[in-house]
Amino acid sequence: MRSAAPVSVGWLAAGIGLLLLFPLSSPDAFLLDVFTTGFLLAAFAASWDVVGGVSGQITLGHALPFGAAAYACALLTSLAGWPLPLAVAAAILLAAAVGMGIGALSAPLAGPFVALLTLALGEIAHEAAVGHTFFSGPGGYAWGGEGGIPVALPWRDAPPFSSYYAALAFLCLASFGMLRLSRSGAGLILRAVAGSPITAQASGVPIARFKRLAFAAGSAFAGAAGAGFALHMGRATATDLSLELSFQAATFAAVGGRGTIAGPVVAALVLHVLFQGLYLPPSARVLLYALTLLVTLRFFPGGVVGTARELASRLGRRDGTRPARRGGRNRTGEGTR
């Protein structure tokens, strides 16, 4: 996998500036809600990229830590009466532990077997959540099943723009954290493990430990997004654990460019806002996501960022390959010294 995309600070500032100003244009509550869920899904897509892109562990059960954190948040606030910040922190820790467990189970496996294992684990959790009304809430209401479990929020009817700004702030912080991770020494080792596990191991890398790290880190960020999603929706539902959600995250990463973090964030935002904004039924949206993935894999296997890099690289070669300028970045995203 290539290193994280060298995002231009100017473009980034312009994008964040536009998103900050957007609520001032008096959009309706529906559009604000679409953007808010888009920010949370974008962070979720980037967290998939930590595992499936940067670290090369293709997971089809990434909704498991997302949903586990959402359910933990709901149960701890509604059933155990925990204060919200404590419940959110515990939910993120739980998601990281779930990721650590998935990483430990998948450590001896490679390629499609990791995908199959994560798919199976995710589906077991989803079926368990759908099929059981395992708690009785106050007033005799059955909790669980398709209806999910409510989150006890300390506020009532928060204005839509507050959720919007909170989700945007979360996306910026989480993306920054994930970019920093992917560009750190640990991130470099994760990309080595993704590229050639045997060479990485022959370079002294304990593969199993770094696989667990990849799943734990990606799952912690997924869990944070899941907890945020549960707060925004007011409840955790079985959909938070669904294969459809895992598939969406993988699609966003493939379209944006695997291993780039920024690519999946942008792809998730654009595709989610576009498809939701078209007022399409859920089944049509799934079809559109599938078609987008097929077209991307067939014609742009490196995703948007990968294709842009390839084009830039070809143009550079046509003009005569030059060494990267001092202080700039070369084709692999490495800075020169």
């Binding site: 020494g185 640990a186 990309r191 191991q201 022959a202 084709r331």
Partner: protein, 229 residues
Amino acid sequence: MSALLSAEGISKSFGDTQVLSGISLSIAPGEPVGLFGPNGSGKTTLVNILSGLLPPDAGTVRFDGKEITRLPLDARYRLGIARTFQIPHPYPGLSVREAVRVALTVNAGKRKEGGGTREDAEGPAEDLLARTGLFDQRFVPCARLSQGCLRRLEFARGLACRPRLLILDEIFSALSAADEGDLTALLRAANRDEGTAFLLVSHNPPLLKGLCRRILVLEEGRIVRERNV
């Protein structure tokens, strides 16, 4: 002198095929040893067992007096046993410098106890790349390297842990005369200046005679001859 690496009674079979039968060998600190044998004699299997990529069916491997028979490849590298591959497996998305940094970062982590950072590996990476003649290609993606440069990169990766023993599996095969000359000089320098012992697997007897003090001949999974050069 006590052995740096010793193997006793190493046997390995794949299904019904017995590949190695009761091999015993030892390498002294700083000793350059060659391993020669026809195709299918079990050289790569022996290298895989000595480097920790494969467990033996029977026998023990010791390094510096400690038994390491079940120690995996990565742990042996951190201990000071580095190996190269007959067919290099480069990281497709990393540059040459990043590939060397991976090994250096892991090693820096071992030295610092608190875990290595990319910065810990920067200076040594540049030095290692200059030493192995890869400095000008440090920003080139590994996937675009020529066969000669890939072998140099394998060598650089091996040197990154400051090895006490280098196990080199056919590192000189399919190289140009210039690349072979450069790698030979590098190997001699590592042996002479840093006292690095090596086990060099090759099909080329003149090359082995030129580089090694002792040559082991492997045939049908057994060491049939041992020659001092």
